[in-house]
Symmetry: C2
Subunit: 355 residues, 2 copies
Amino acid sequence: MSKVRSWTIHDIARRADVSAKTVSRVINGEKGVSLLTRRKVTQVIDEVGFEPHTGARSMRGCRRDCVGVVLPASPEEVPLSQGFFIWLFNELCATFGKRGDFLCIDPHPPTRENGRDYARGLWQQRYAGCILCGPLSLNDNVLPRIHNSGHPYLALGRLDDFPECSCATVDYELGARMSVEYLLNRGHRRIAMLKAFSGYQPGLERLRGYRAALEQAGIPFDPALVRSVSVSQSDILNAVHRLLIEPDVTALVDCSAAEDPVSIREGARRAGRVPGKDFEVVCWTYTDNATVLAEACGHLWLPVRESAREGLICFERWFSGKTSEPIHILYRPTLYEHVSGLQVPKPKPLFSVAI
Amino acid sequence: MSKVRSWTIHDIARRADVSAKTVSRVINGEKGVSLLTRRKVTQVIDEVGFEPHTGARSMRGCRRDCVGVVLPASPEEVPLSQGFFIWLFNELCATFGKRGDFLCIDPHPPTRENGRDYARGLWQQRYAGCILCGPLSLNDNVLPRIHNSGHPYLALGRLDDFPECSCATVDYELGARMSVEYLLNRGHRRIAMLKAFSGYQPGLERLRGYRAALEQAGIPFDPALVRSVSVSQSDILNAVHRLLIEPDVTALVDCSAAEDPVSIREGARRAGRVPGKDFEVVCWTYTDNATVLAEACGHLWLPVRESAREGLICFERWFSGKTSEPIHILYRPTLYEHVSGLQVPKPKPLFSVAI
DNA sequence: TTGAAAGCGCTAACAT
DNA sequence: ATGTTAGCGCTTTCAA
């Protein structure tokens, strides 16, 4: 808590024999300083390695030199894949590193119990804008406050209750509808769904898309055909087992977000089924033209990174004051009947993730 | 730049009909406030969602509520593996998330050209202590300034020129010596080395260990047997090719840090050699009881994560004021003749990395 | 072109 | 137990 004394503009001013305001002018690149004075001050600054105190600066007006990176939900409840995180981190470094900005991460995300305010760093004015990484809880009440604060922000997810939210995401509802319609067209009538993100917006969208497709086909909704799962292997395995035990179920939409073919196969096996033979599967994936289950009859690509990338570009513009509008980016999923092959990405060094 | 007005302790004070100092006492958990007053103030704070302004707080004394995470070298020059980064990030979140601290990342690392001051965030007083992630450049002149500033810090690497540096790392010199001695004992006389981190401390240590082992055995040092490589495949492949083209070279120490068996085999093939048959290899790895090249006759494990973990524990104590001593942690490598098998880690969700 | 003074939000030191 | 005052380092405003 005790202060480690360091250089101030007054120290620099004394050394350079000018006023503090002149030093301030120099470090902010303001005009109204003669070339000679500017050089003198710059030299002293370099000599002693002076850097202005961020806290003091932040008191007069909000400086946009630090971007908050925030998890609206605990990764234990809503997992973020390492691949996506690394990718996102890489994008953030590329975008904001170039500008000389800092990234500030709040490593203390809210859980369902603690109900923490994930925007605390914004209220504390640690950063002047933030990226919300990951799905939003259906109970979220922080988002409107962020929005109304006027700070630039980008949610990588949306919220029914707050459509004006600045976001860049993928239309999961459409994805679910496309998946189910595709299976209906292939003659299936009892279609099961392995659904992730229960209690979060993407979970709700999945369900809504599923119901919409059935409704349009005039098929009544049976809640027993939809199972919420976490990404745990045993959870998925059990859910698949239970769903496929009913012989009338001839199709499955895997939107578990787990990208886990082993558990699906094993769950099916325990129900005496084989994917691609007894029943058909549509698998969701985050990679273009790839699948997690080779036996699947359909592969739905969710262009999550692509939407996030465009969102970040817009956010950067907003953050740097070039625009002042909330962001609304919603990408459509793509359904592939065939893909060129399963991609198993080999490990790569950080910052070398391909663009 | 324009200020987004938000709540201050004065606003809270007015609403709660107390003085600003009383509000300050409440938010800092100081005594000298009656239970009734405290409750009244807390209620107003919760009502409006007040959070104290970090910048203003930081002006009175240095608050330890944010940890800097800093790259002393550009990852383009000195790669950090994704696996290590994720692991480190996970450790940092576990350690400092629990305390409610923030992490501040400077995504603008220095390159050899720009010579940027990687500790700028510390001088700007964005954070009160920092972790230097990755090897230190032999030209480093920032480290002594950090050290002398009195701020807590931890370098995940050391520096000959500054032995008092607070660090947690692995003894690469010993690793090189062990590797070469092992090969000497197996009867080899001309031992080649694939060396990483040229211009950085771990590169220097590798070379020193190599020379020390030869010297002890009375074998003259031949610079042609040591090749500096980056982690690029073609670089390694070419270096192996060139080294093995000389028929007298019967052994190779792979301390390229690339963990890339394919390039070693291919480089050998082009020189008409087969690892484990024509020549023997000692491979370095960051994983215990594992290897990157099954044909290797020796596997040197560098317990980098293990040293970093202990370092972080010490750093946390220093950062939270429980101690005030620099950290000196140096782990010994281990040489295995046989390992139970090649580990190909399967992808895991972020924050679920095993402890 | 340059500088003096006031004040940002908070807390330490000192009253009451 | 509570309040007043001063001042942290900087930038804004206004004056010279």
